[in-house]
Structure formats: C-alpha cells, structure tokens
C-alpha cells in the first residue's frame, strides 16, 4: 500500500492532489473501489455482501484491510457525541444578544472602515435598484394583463360562460391560488419568499397510471373553504375531477354513522361469519388483512364528534366517487381521515398537486390552503407553498411519481365576514 520512501510524505502528496494512485489500484486488484466502499458503508444487500465476502476470501490481506476499515468506521462513529464544556449552552443567548455583531456586515482582518462603508453603500444601491425594477415589472405586467382581459371580454362569444376565478376568504387567510401559474414560472408569493422553480415534470393527461408501489399516506392536508350553500356543489364537482382530468382518485370519507357501523362490522368480521352490508358496498372488501387494532379504533371513533358540512348528497355516498379504485386508501386510512374531519380523500401523484390546486379553485367561492404536518409533532405546520415544495424535494422516501393520499377538509366560511 505505501511506497518505500517516506510513506507519510508520499501519502499526503497523493491526497493533496487526489489522483488515482497506482499503489491503491494495485492493492485493490480486480475489486472495484465503489464496491468495497459500499461494503464498508453497509450499503450492500445480503446477497451482494455474501458474494463480495466469498470473493475476498481469496485475498486475505485485502480482506483484513477492509475489515479494519469497517472497524475504523465504527470507531469514528462511536465518537459522534462530544460533550460540550459546562455552561456552553449560555453562549447561544450571548450570541443572540449581540445586535451590533449581527446587524453590521462581517469584516475580515485587513479590511478598512472606508472599504466596509463603500460595500454597504453599494449593497443599499443594489437593493434600491432591484426594488424599483420589480415595481416597474409589476406595473407593466398589470397594464398588459388589464389590456388582455379587456380584449378577451369584448371578443368572447355571448353564450360562453365567464371564467371562474378564485376568491379569497379573509377570515381563514388562505393562499390565493392565482399565484400558482400553470407554466411553473417563479413568482413571488410574499415579499419575503420566492417560489422555487417547480422541478416536477409536466405529465400528459393521456399517460396511463403506472404504479411502482402502493399509494402512501403523506403528511399533507388540504383545506377548502367555501360558503354553506356551495358545499353540495363543491362535493358534486369533486366527483368529476378524475373523469375530466384523469389524474386522481376521489374517495368520499365516512360519515360518523358509517364509521361506527363499519367499526362494528369489522369487529364482528374477526369472528367467522358473512360480511355485513357496509363492507359489502366497498370495492376492496378484503377481510384477510383486517388489522387487529380495530378494537382500539372503535373506541376512538365513538367519541369523535365529527362535524357535518351541509347535507350529505345522495349522489356522493362514501367510497370511491371516481377514478381508479386501486388507488383508494384502505379502511384504516379512511377511518383515520374521517375521524380527523376530512370530508374526502384524493389519491394523486405529488407532481400533480399544483394542477389539482388550480382546478379546485375554479369553483367559486372556494379558496384552498395546503399544509404540511410534522409526523412527529403534529402541531407543527408549514403553510407556504414554496417551503412545502422544498420540504417534499428534500425527502428521500418519495418522488414526483409517488402517489399520496391527501385528506381534504371542507371548511364553511362565515358569510357574515
């Protein structure tokens, strides 16, 4: 592994330039560095591990080296926790209490005061120029939009229905859907944040659903706010989402009565006998995987005072309203969402959420609010769409094509406000 001349010098020379050294290549022989690295990192599956171990059996020196490298890794990881000096926690408050340090620009040694002031003036000037440019762009854009809309109104045929636009409902402070552009260009949602470019790919509506894995519950909740008299209309339109756009499955969640009956039937289903009438109405009535903890759910369900929004339309019974039934959540998830107050559940690909929000906003007077919920601390919420998108992008367990179950709560806005 090391040369005869000063090994420390030679090794550090190699590491400085990081070339693929001949010594390392020689010692690895026919083994790939990537494979050995993955073995050291415990990233190989059992079969690959066994194959590599069998291959290493013929190279005892290399095997010893790899074993030692694995042991070193464990040694290093065992030192992950380094106790802080006593009283160091107080440094945080001391740091926060230093406004002069925080507010003034950082200076490195040798930078003189006039240079700092010049840099600060330049920064202020750039900010002012950017602000003026932004104002000009917004004003020009507004003028162009007004002109375009006035032309559209004058040219529209008499029998064409006017385009519906989203209306904000003030008390609930929703995020106006009009800020989400279908062409995925960035636009400031607030004066603090700029929406990150949407990395999700455009999907053809005619593209068939190809599922690589089962749909997953996901820590997102959608709230739709509408007036009392518009609830039944809203529910009716949701049935047609999948039919019109072919990208979602819509499932009406259980009412309290249905949830109670279902729990009783499922408890009874644990004992031999025919399925009850409620179970028989559902597409996925497979009793073989009824979870044993239904008894706990039944106790919870009986004490939940689930709100009822408007009248339940006979056209929108519980169960799959539209779309592929294989994407519908199972009873467990439906029951949990029902108990949380979600009126219906949408199965949708992550990359289609933006489109869904745009479509939902077309039925006035509806505004929508999407929230991300922390699984480990349910009281924590993210509400800004840009941050939600970045949070989703950061997750390794989901991708653009992952189908998620999105519970939707219909909130009735106070019409007196």
């Amino acid at each position: 592994m090391t040369d005869q001349k000063d090994p420390t010098q030679d090794r550090h020379d190699e590491l400085e330039g990081w070339p693929q050294s001949a010594a390392i290549r020689q010692s690895l022989g026919s083994f790939l560095e990537a494979d050995l690295q993955a073995f050291i990192d415990d990233e190989l599956d059992d079969e690959q591990q066994q194959l590599l171990i069998a291959k290493l059996a013929d190279h005892p020196e290399l095997k010893c080296l790899i074993d030692n490298l694995q042991a070193d890794r464990r040694r290093l990881h065992s030192c992950a926790v380094t106790p802080m000096p006593v009283g160091m926690e107080a440094d945080v408050q001391k740091t926060l209490a230093r406004p002069m340090l925080v507010s003034s620009p950082a200076s490195s040694p040798g930078t003189y005061r006039r240079q700092i002031n010049r840099q600060a003036r330049r920064a202020r000037l750039m900010r002012a120029v950017s602000g003026i440019a932004a104002v000009i762009v917004v004003v020009v854009g507004a003028i162009i939009l007004v002109i375009a809309m006035s032309k559209e109104v004058s040219e529209a045929p008499q029998n064409e229905q006017p385009r519906l636009t989203a209306i904000d409902v003030e008390p609930l402070q929703p995020h106006p859907i009009r800020t989400l552009l279908p062409d995925n260009k960035s636009e400031p949602l607030t004066d603090r944040l700029t929406m990150a470019p949407n990395k999700m790919p455009e999907q053809s509506r005619s593209e068939s659903w190809k599922l690589n894995s089962e749909p997953v519950p996901f820590a997102l909740v959608l709230s739709e706010s509408t007036e009392q008299e518009a609830v039944s209309v809203l529910l009716e339109t949701r049935r047609h989402l999948a039919q019109d756009h072919g990208m979602v499955t819509v499932v009406r969640n259980f009412s309290r009565r249905e949830a109670t009956e279902l729990q009783q039937e499922l408890l009874a289903a644990n004992t031999p006998g025919p399925a009850g009438p409620m179970l028989g109405t559902f597409a996925n009535s497979d009793l073989s995987d009824v979870p044993s903890r239904w008894s706990d759910e039944a106790e919870r369900g009986s004490s939940v005072d689930r709100p009822v929004h408007g009248q339940r339309s006979s056209m929108a019974p519980s169960g799959v309203l539209s779309g592929p039934s294989n994407l519908a959540p199972d009873y467990n998830i439906q029951l949990l969402y029902s108990e949380s107050g979600a009126d219906y559940t949408v199965a949708i690909r992550l990359c289609d959420i933006d489109k869904l929000l745009q479509e939902l906003a077309l039925v006035p007077p509806v505004s929508t609010r999407l929230e991300a919920i922390d699984d480990e601390a349910p009281e924590s919420r993210l509400e800004e769409m840009a941050w939600i998108r970045e949070w989703i992008n950061q997750r390794d367990d989901v991708g653009d094509m992952t189908v998620i179950h999105l519970p939707v709560i219909i909130e009735v806005a106070d019409s007196t406000d």
């Binding site: 590491l15 080296l65 290093l76 065992s78 000096p85």
Partner: protein, 203 residues
C-alpha cells in the same frame, strides 16, 4: 428536530419571531461544537469557532433557500469557519494539531446511567485514540472523516457541504479512510493489513 420543524422555525424567524432563532441554535449548538472540536482539536478554539459559526448562521439565514437540508447548510457554514480558522493559524504542513485532553464526559462511571461500568472507560479510551489520529491528518482528510463517518452525513450531503461532485467525494472518502487506517495502525501498533483480534468480533 425534524426537517419540517426546522423549516417552520426558519419561516418564523423571517416573520420576526425572536424565539425561533434561539430554538434553532440551541438544537444545533452541540452538533456545531462536535464538528469544530474534531476539526480544531482544541476545546477553547472549538468554543470560539462555534460562536463564529452561529453568528454566520444568523447572518446567512435570510439567504437560505431550502434547497439543501438546513442541517447540511449549517454544517457547511461550520466547516467553512473551521477551515478559515485553520488557514488563519497558518499551520506548517504535516504539523499535528495541538491536542488537548478530551473533555470529561458528563456520564461518569457509577452515576447509575451505565449498565456496564467498563464500557465507559473503553469508549473514552477509543475516543482519545481517534482524537489523536484525527489531529495528525490534514484538514481536508479530517473533514471528510468527520462529515461521513462521525456525523454520518450521506455522500450527497458531504458533496453539498464541500461543494465537490459526488463521485469525487466517494473517492476522497475512501482515501481518507486509508489514511486514517495507516496513521491509526502506526500510532497503536497495528499494520493496515493485519487484523486486530477485536475486529473479528466487531465485523
């Protein structure tokens, strides 16, 4: 702290919540200190650079756009502060760091928290050995081992912290591990290709 909670605190900080930054720094301070201590090898200097890093985090948080995880971004800021500090000291090439004694662990033997009293001594001895070997490595090598093997960052995160391509990171980590093995063996009487009796049980 979950990533969502972190983003929520960043959002709250930008909304003017004065408590949010404090909560974030309290959560990250141990980790920042751990990185600084392993990089610099000295308790007092690590404490100073930890404070510098926290100041940089406060100053730079408004430019954080959420594309990388907050933990990755904070560690990047910390690592840059450590490397700047080392450059400022203008260490002579290959000169080992001034190795200060390991700080006392708060979990003392017999405090009732340990089921096996001997395990604490062994862990402390191992930590000391690792500390001394790390101090002998050049900053780049040391940084790689700290990020990958001590802090358990993924290769992608290490690449983001050091701002180098992913393939380069993997290759450098392999070489860093070889360098550590060589120095560890040289200091504690082990050959790189000879196995310590204990390693057979460990593997």
């Amino acid at each position: 702290m979950t990533p969502l909670r972190e983003l929520q605190l960043v959002e709250a900080h930008r909304d003017g919540d004065g408590e949010a930054m404090g909560e974030l720094l309290q959560a990250y301070q141990p980790r920042i200190y751990a990185v600084c201590y392993r990089m610099l090898g000295n308790v007092e200097e690590a404490r100073d650079i930890t404070q510098d890093s926290m100041v940089r985090v406060i100053e730079g948080l408004n430019s954080y756009d959420g594309r990388a995880q907050l933990s990755t971004w904070v560690i990047r800021v910390t690592m840059n502060c450590c490397l700047s500090s080392l450059r400022r000291k203008r260490l002579r090439r290959h000169q080992p760091l001034e190795v200060a004694p390991e700080p006392q662990s708060r979990d003392r033997i017999g405090s009732g928290r340990e089921l096996q009293p001997g395990a604490g001594v062994e862990r402390s001895e191992m930590s000391k050995q690792v500390h001394e070997v790390l101090a002998r490595l050049d900053p780049q090598t040391r940084g790689l081992l700290i990020l990958r093997d001590i802090q358990e960052l993924s290769y992608q995160q290490v690449a983001e912290v050091l701002e180098v391509p992913l393939g380069t990171v993997k290759s450098r980590v392999f070489r860093a591990r070889l360098a550590f093995r060589e120095d560890f063996g040289a200091m504690w009487g082990e050959e790189p290709h000879r196995q310590r009796p204990g390693n057979q049980e460990a593997s």
